[in-house]
């Protein structure tokens, strides 16, 4: 691999989050370096998704801070996170089911569009030109993910594996600097998993996108990621290169040994 991992782009420091009495994250500190593929693993309910939700602003932690590209914040809003260049996918696919693949991808470009409300409402020249420019960008994503054949298909009619791919496409359409993938391979068959792995590696390689992913499939994590953080009961219990983590006794006890 020819990529160069840079300085930390995202730093999560001492983040604690609880819902009522239930503790989801406990003083988690976690960093992601530019251009790397960072995995978060852990048993069910370990707080992995909560961590992603904190990063993109769905949840607001009670303690700790998040700094992205050097801007330290106590909490972020999803809109701010998106504006700063964070895109994501969801564990249980959150696509716009009634819309076509093309329209779904176009929503990914929302923040890149600049024409004003009046032009939009009247679909005037500038808005129209802008639409075409963004369409060209979207076509690159379509080509990249090899989904030309489903451009005009309503997303709700697609099989699960393709929906996952479209969801990745919508995130890519935003040309993000940080891509959060919540179990991108959950529920896929072997071939679909291989395709998805290839896409993740290609995104990282060709666009230099920094990727944080949650994944259950250990072999996938080991193959894909540069560094792995392990969560258990809302705490980080290990962090390091895949091989180190695999040998870590605490990880074996908490995760590999017990849950699997």
């Amino acid at each position: 691999m020819g990529k160069t991992v840079g300085a930390p782009i995202l730093e999560v420091e001492g983040v604690s989050l609880s819902f009522g009495g239930v503790v989801a994250l406990q003083a988690v500190t976690f960093d992601v370096r530019e251009h790397e593929i960072r995995a978060i693993i852990g048993p069910n309910g370990a707080g992995k998704s909560s961590l992603l939700n904190v990063i993109n602003g769905f949840y607001h932690p009670q303690q700790g801070s998040i700094s992205f590209k050097g801007r330290r914040r106590r909490q972020v809003d999803p809109h701010e996170a998106a504006q700063a260049g964070i895109a994501r996918t969801f564990q249980n696919i959150a696509l716009f089911r009634g819309m076509t693949v093309l329209d779904n991808l176009m929503t990914g470009r929302t923040l890149k569009m600049t024409s004003n409300f009046l032009q939009q409402a009247l679909y005037w020249g500038a808005a129209r030109r802008e639409e075409l420019e963004h369409r060209a960008k979207i076509e690159e994503v379509i080509d990249f993910l090899e989904i030309q054949h489903i451009r005009k298909t309503p997303v709700g009619r697609l099989p699960y594996g393709l929906q996952k791919r479209v969801e990745l496409g919508r995130a890519l359409a935003a040309e993000p600097q940080l891509l959060l993938l919540d179990e991108p391979m959950a529920g896929m068959n072997l071939e679909e998993k291989q395709d998805m792995c290839r896409f993740i590696l290609d995104v990282n390689d060709q666009f230099g996108t920094t990727i944080v992913l949650i994944e259950h499939d250990m072999s996938v994590v080991m193959d894909l990621s540069d560094r792995v953080a392990v969560l258990d009961y809302g705490r980080k219990i290990a962090d390091g290169a895949p091989d180190e983590v695999r040998r870590d006794q605490a990880v074996i006890d908490a995760y590999l040994g017990v849950a699997h």
């Binding site: 076509e139 030309q148 451009r151 390689d205």
Partner: protein, 652 residues
């Protein structure tokens, strides 16, 4: 313009001719990033020049072979042309072949240069490299995923073109000089045929053979510059070379490359080709999709579809063929065109089709009639790689389901004593590449190619292909006995899943039949006929009558055919179990193993021929869960009505 006097006897010279005639018309289109990009003939020749000069600079010499592996992409076609311009021979390979199969072809054709579409194909070639180290250069079209490949053999086609432009700058005369050196008798392409046994063989076709054959085709259907063709069948298939490459360069129309193999249906709709070829399987897939969508549609649409398809069935074919049809039907058909057939053809991308062909295997009557009845001029043809396809073709207005048409102009067809079809034509191959022995086996001293198919001419001079020659036998009285032909006729009925016919060196033809569980089950449910399983359903007298009607329809057809009239099916029985590959009765590709079945069920065969009314049978069989067990049944033997020639004519 480019050459003093552009002659048209090799493909590179045809390209120059097209550039001269229509420099600025589109020669090829490809959908890329959602938009149809096109290249004019002038642009094409520049790209071919760059590729050819690049190849030459890399050491590619006259007579060298260039492997072409990938989907139908413009640059892959241009690479073929570039190789030919240098006097080399393109060898297109099937893109879905596994590395092992490719390794054989690379070795057999002694290939040192290869053009691969993408990472997938490059990976296969790199896997083969240790076995075939003579592969010197691999050029790729799409660089995606190949950034970190460091192999010295690899180079992108972009780089190759850059080298070529540089080379051409220093040797401005080179490209045209090389084209000038080409001879019509040079081999234009080597196409590997799969062959049912043994390794594939490379069919060497010359420029002259391909150009003359394509010329005949262009004239036959009046193909011209207004036509559009979508190339979506493998480049390694002779038809693609003939239709998408040879015809295009002769008639000068535009070739359209699909966006990806998955988008062919959408691309068809957007392009609306005027000329279309597909094997029966593809027509069947399209029809199935139509039917599924109709089932999903609202009831208004469904009712309309049913009603107008009824009209089409009644009158569509007559109208297509310009035969008289009742005025009411004509009016209804017009209406149907507006509401059903037109929109349907539009969705299928078939609204502009002038001629559509199918071939390669027998097409079911329902399928054939469906397309023709909605006004698509679907025709059949017959031929193989070794003859540049084009042996017989049906001409518009003279189309029949059970023949493949008359021999094409310039093609001599002869039927050998054994019933085998022999062909002599300008399109017969030069040789199997480096296989003089195999070539001698199929091309005789008079220059006739032995097709291996058995057939005969009917009274109107149409060729009828009945079977593979080696499977055809004779009845005791000398009548032709073509078991597969009879079996296929039976299998065209939805109720019959498999059939096995016996009769070689016997006095009459008898058959085993497997019913189609889904179709017959459905039929039985509509009649409130209860059954417990296959054996029970197969044993019902009502089902026997149903099958008997099918058999008798086949017999009536056969009676009308003087050559086969005697091979009507006299007696049959419905087997108590489904023939199964696990029991060795079918091959893995679901072809019946006639001899094995005959031996396994010899008591049944004997009963058929001894005139008994029934027979008891016990069979070992393997169940789906892997257990072995015995099934026993008492099977009834049914006598089917046969027809004599005159009666059949009257009935028809």
């Amino acid at each position: 313009m480019l050459l003093e006097e552009a002659s048209t006897d090799t493909f590179p010279r045809l390209l120059l001719k097209q550039v001269e005639i229509r420099p600025d018309r589109p020669a090829i289109r490809e959908k890329d990033l959602g938009i149809w990009q096109s290249w004019t003939w002038t642009q094409v020749v520049e790209r071919v020049r760059a590729l050819a000069c690049g190849l030459a600079a890399q050491g590619f010499r006259r007579g060298d072979r260039l492997a072409i592996i990938g989907d139908n992409r413009p640059r892959l076609y241009w690479s073929m042309m570039a190789a030919q311009a240098l006097g080399g021979i393109p060898v297109p390979l099937y893109q879905d072949a596994v590395a092992g199969e490719m390794a054989f072809v690379l070795g057999d054709a002694e290939i040192e240069y290869a053009v691969a579409e993408d990472q997938e194909q490059v990976d296969k070639l790199l896997e083969i490299l240790p076995q075939w180290p003579r592969l010197r250069r691999i050029y790729f079209d799409d660089p995606r995923g190949l950034r970190h490949y460091a192999q010295a053999e690899l180079m992108s086609l972009d780089s190759l073109e850059a080298i070529g432009r540089d080379f051409a700058g220093r040797n401005p005369e080179f490209f045209l000089d090389e084209i000038g050196k080409g001879e019509p008798s040079d081999v234009a392409v080597i196409l590997y045929t799969s062959g049912t046994t043994g390794n594939p063989k490379g069919v060497s076709q010359t420029h002259a053979a391909m150009i003359r054959t394509a010329g005949v085709l262009v004239e036959f259907d009046g193909i011209g510059k207004g036509d559009d063709l979508l190339c979506y069948l493998p480049m390694a298939w002779v038809g693609d070379f003939l239709y998408s490459y040879a015809q295009v360069h002769i008639a000068g129309f535009c070739l359209n490359c699909p966006e990806s193999p998955d988008t062919v249906m959408t691309d068809l709709r957007e392009i609306g080709p005027t000329y279309f070829f597909a094997p029966p399987r593809i027509y069947e897939n399209i029809l199935t999709q139509v039917m599924i969508r109709i089932e999903d549609a609202g009831w208004v649409k469904r009712r309309m579809f049913r009603a107008f398809m009824g009209v089409a069935k009644r009158a569509g074919m007559k109208i297509l063929e310009g035969k008289p049809a009742p005025l009411v039907d004509r009016l209804l058909y017009r209406l149907g065109e507006v509401f059903v057939y037109g929109p349907l053809k539009n969705v299928l991308g078939m609204s502009r089709i002038r001629v559509a062909y199918t071939g390669g295997e027998a097409i079911g009557p329902d399928l054939f009639d469906f397309y023709r009845s909605i006004g698509i001029n679907l025709k059949q043809l017959y031929g193989m790689t070794e003859t540049c396809v084009t042996v017989c073709m049906q001409s518009s207005g003279d189309v029949r389901l059970d023949t493949v048409g008359r021999p094409m102009p310039g093609v001599e067809v002869r039927i050998a004593g054994s019933g085998e079809v022999l062909v002599r034509s300008p399109g017969v191959m030069k040789e199997y590449y480096r296989r003089a022995d195999a070539t001698r086996e199929v091309i005789d001293a008079e220059g006739f190619f032995h097709t291996g198919d058995a057939g005969y001419f009917d009274a109107d001079g149409h060729l009828k292909i009945i079977d593979r020659a080696k499977d055809v036998g004779k009845l005791a009285d000398g009548t032709l006995f073509a078991p597969k032909y009879l079996e296929n006729k039976l299998k065209f009925f939805p109720y019959i899943k498999e059939a096995v016919c016996f009769g070689d060196r016997r006095e009459k033809v008898c058959a085993f039949v497997n019913i189609d569980m889904a179709a017959v089950g459905n039929w039985a449910e509509k009649r409130n006929l209860s059954y417990t399983g296959y054996a029970d359903l197969a044993g019902k007298p009502e089902v026997r009558d149903l099958v008997r009607e099918c058999v008798e329809k086949v017999n009536r057809d056969l009676a009308a055919d003087p050559a086969l009239g005697n091979s009507q099916i006299r007696r049959f029985l419905i087997l108590h179990k489904e023939l199964d590959a696990d029991d060795g009765e079918l091959t893995r590709t679901r072809k019946v193993r006639r001899r094995f079945i005959g031996e396994k069920y010899d008591s049944l065969v004997n009963a058929l021929y001894s005139g008994e009314a029934g027979c008891h049978v016990e069979t070992q069989m393997r169940f789906e869960d892997g257990r072995a067990g015995t099934v026993s049944a008492d099977l009834a033997i049914v006598d089917a009505k046969t027809f004599d020639d005159a009666a059949a004519r009257k009935a028809a």
